[in-house]
């Protein structure tokens, strides 16, 4: 019962979050004034800058730490981050692109069968937890991969992990457990 059956499962990465540092102090008011597509939030102390291609939203803090969200792959996140750093360089700051790290990857996946969540939780206590009154999905946390999988009864999965490889491994690990408790609704 292994995951490479007739159809491969499509794991679609919907969001990649990455951070990097510019190693210099950034003046947020200058960025807000001279940059296009920026939103200045003085109450929080950050500037949101949106890039068109790749579609990335970055939170820029005055300490020089920047968080990029919205990319659909790790390489895209890196490209977007570098583009952003170049943009800040052109605005006049002495930016050095450093400490780039992908922090979180969010992916969705769809099983070709529906899942019986109560049996799934019973078989996998205490790694799996399910509170139907609070959230319709069962949560399965894999400690060594640091990945969290939310399993819905329609067969959809939402996986979050520190990088794309962990996410793929997590789906492979959980597939046989889900296969045992499937409801035979074909897709």
């Amino acid at each position: 019962m292994d995951s490479s059956n007739d159809e491969a499962l499509d794991i679609i990465i919907t969001n990649v979050v990455a951070t990097f540092r510019t190693r210099c102090h950034l003046n947020l008011r200058t960025i807000a004034l001279e940059g296009t597509n920026v939103i200045y939030k003085p109450e929080v102390g950050k500037v949101l800058m949106k890039l068109r291609k790749p579609t990335i939203t970055a939170s820029i803090w005055s300490s020089g730490k920047i968080i990029c969200t919205g990319a659909t792959s790790e390489d895209e996140a890196k490209l977007g981050a570098r583009r952003l750093a170049r943009c800040l360089q052109k605005l006049g700051f002495k930016v050095r692109f450093s400490a780039f790290k992908v922090v979180n990857v969010l992916a969705v996946c769809s099983m070709p069968f529906a899942i019986h969540l109560i049996d799934f939780t019973k078989n996998n206590r205490p790694i799996a937890s399910y509170e139907p009154e609070l959230h319709p999905a069962a949560t399965y946390r894999i400690k060594n991969l640091k990945a969290t999988i939310q399993v819905f009864s329609t067969g959809s999965l939402t996986v979050t992990g520190p990088n794309v490889q962990n996410v793929a491994t997590a789906v492979e690990q959980v597939y046989p457990l889900l296969f045992e408790v499937r409801k035979p609704i074909c897709k």
């Binding site: 583009r83 019986h116 009154e133």
Partner: protein
């Protein structure tokens, strides 16, 4: 006073007196004035005395008054819910354990009250007393999300594995809140609570098969089921005219907004089944379906079979009309439709009666199956499983539109060249900057004028 037996080392005199200079004990020779010996300036040991301040000032430890109040609140909640005494004892034990834990000792009193409710909830669950989180949050008058957060944390700290509540068990206790027995309401609108319970439970089980219950909050579903059960037990014109608002006022229950949506969904499902009843002449619509509910529930398995068959035939016709590729496709479809009717339904009847404790959603697996799923899939990949099955969850009927993948970014490596012109599009020219600053100033001035 002189010390006997001591002699001064320098002059040999035996006239040594105890002289305390600044509280330091000293032995001094009177004749020559040498200090023979001296004591320690402070008599406390180095590093502070052996006994700590809190120990010297300690009184007998009294139990925390908030803990006592919390335990009383737990007891009060148990009395209100009229649960067994074992549940009361268990919840008190859990409360005292959780209270002392570091993550709950310093929280606000409101949260401690919510913690009391969560302890009662978990004890009820462990000892098989059906109760929902919604009931607890109503009793405590607290935000249900807060109750959820505290419940999860408490379960993690105390390491409890509580079984999940079955909706059908909860309905019986939930119905007690509704005041529509003959004691409270005038004759024509009154109803026997046992009949109501049975009818509502059957409706909820049927709704579970149709993907209406999965993933939804339980209380609006129960409200919808009770409303429809009440209407269908005596489908007079007066009862059919009663809207959900009026029903809730009659039963003296607070109306839940999502219940209206659930009613629509359940009625839709009942219409789909009601259409298959052979002796009904008029068209079944959501308005008059309440009259057919009794028959639908009585013959639900047969009606479900018929509805599935009709649906498949309709799909088959569509298939034949639209895609004329492979006759094999149709053969496979017609093959799978027959075993569906015959095989699962006989065992499903026994299973449904036996497994009363399993979640109602299980019945779906017995009734709506297409066993040769794999062959059908590989030969005729349908666009969306929502169209192929009769009852599907709403998320499949209205699927999320995924962001279209941009093809030019497929081979991104992250280390490409970034051209200057591209970056310039993100930076304002100096003229634009001046205009922007000016506009901002004007706007802020006009706002401050207001």
């Amino acid at each position: 006073m002189s010390r006997a037996g001591a002699t001064c080392p320098s002059c040999g005199s035996s006239n040594i007196v105890d002289d305390e200079l600044y509280s330091q004990a000293q032995l001094v020779c009177v004749d020559c004035g040498t200090v023979v010996s001296e004591g320690v300036l402070a008599s406390d040991p180095v590093g502070g005395s052996d006994v700590s301040y809190s120990r010297t000032t300690a009184v007998a430890k009294k139990p925390c008054p908030n803990l006592i109040k919390g335990l009383q609140r737990v007891r009060a909640l148990c009395r209100i819910l009229r649960v067994k005494s074992e549940i009361e004892d268990l919840s008190q034990t859990y409360y005292s354990q959780a209270y002392q834990h570091v993550s709950f000792i310093n929280v606000t009193l409101h949260k401690k009250e919510v913690l009391a409710g969560c302890c009662v909830l978990v004890s009820c669950r462990l000892l098989n007393w059906p109760i929902t989180m919604g009931t607890i949050s109503c009793l405590l008058d607290a935000d249900p999300d807060l109750v959820g957060v505290i419940y999860k944390e408490m379960v993690k700290i105390l390491n409890i594995e509580a079984p999940i509540v079955n909706l059908t068990d909860v309905i019986a206790t939930h119905i007690q809140e509704y005041k529509i027995s003959s004691a409270d309401v005038s004759g024509d609108l009154a109803v026997n609570s046992q009949d109501l319970t049975k009818r509502a439970v059957a409706l909820v089980e049927l709704a579970a098969d149709a993907w209406i219950v999965t993933g939804r909050r339980p209380i609006p579903i129960m409200m919808a089921a009770i409303y429809l059960a009440w209407q269908s037990l005596k489908p007079t014109k007066q009862r059919l005219k009663f809207s959900l608002d009026k029903f809730c006022q009659l039963a003296k229950v607070k109306k839940h907004q999502p219940a209206a949506k659930r009613i629509t969904e359940i009625k839709e499902m009942l219409c789909k089944l009601g259409k298959e009843i052979p002796w009904v002449r008029e068209t079944v619509s959501p308005e008059n379906v309440a009259r057919q509910v009794e028959d639908i529930l009585q013959y639900r398995f047969a009606l479900l079979r018929r509805a599935l068959r009709t649906h498949e035939e309709a799909l088959l016709d569509e298939c034949q009309a639209s895609c004329q590729d492979s006759p094999a496709e149709e053969a496979v479809l017609s093959h799978s439709s027959e075993p569906v009717d015959q095989t699962p339904n006989a065992p499903s009847l026994e299973q449904c009666e036996m497994n009363a404790e399993r979640e109602p959603g299980d019945e779906h697996e017995n009734l709506c199956t297409e066993p040769q799923s794999d062959t059908q899939e590989s030969q005729a990949p349908a666009p969306n499983w929502g169209k192929r099955l009769l009852f599907v969850p709403p998320c499949v009927i209205h699927p999320k539109r995924r962001r279209m993948e941009q093809p030019d970014l497929k081979d991104v490596t992250g280390d490409e060249e970034i051209s200057d012109s591209e970056i310039d599009s993100y930076i304002r020219t100096p003229q634009e900057t001046r205009d922007f600053a000016r506009t901002q100033k004007i706007l802020s001035l006009s706002e401050s004028d207001k």
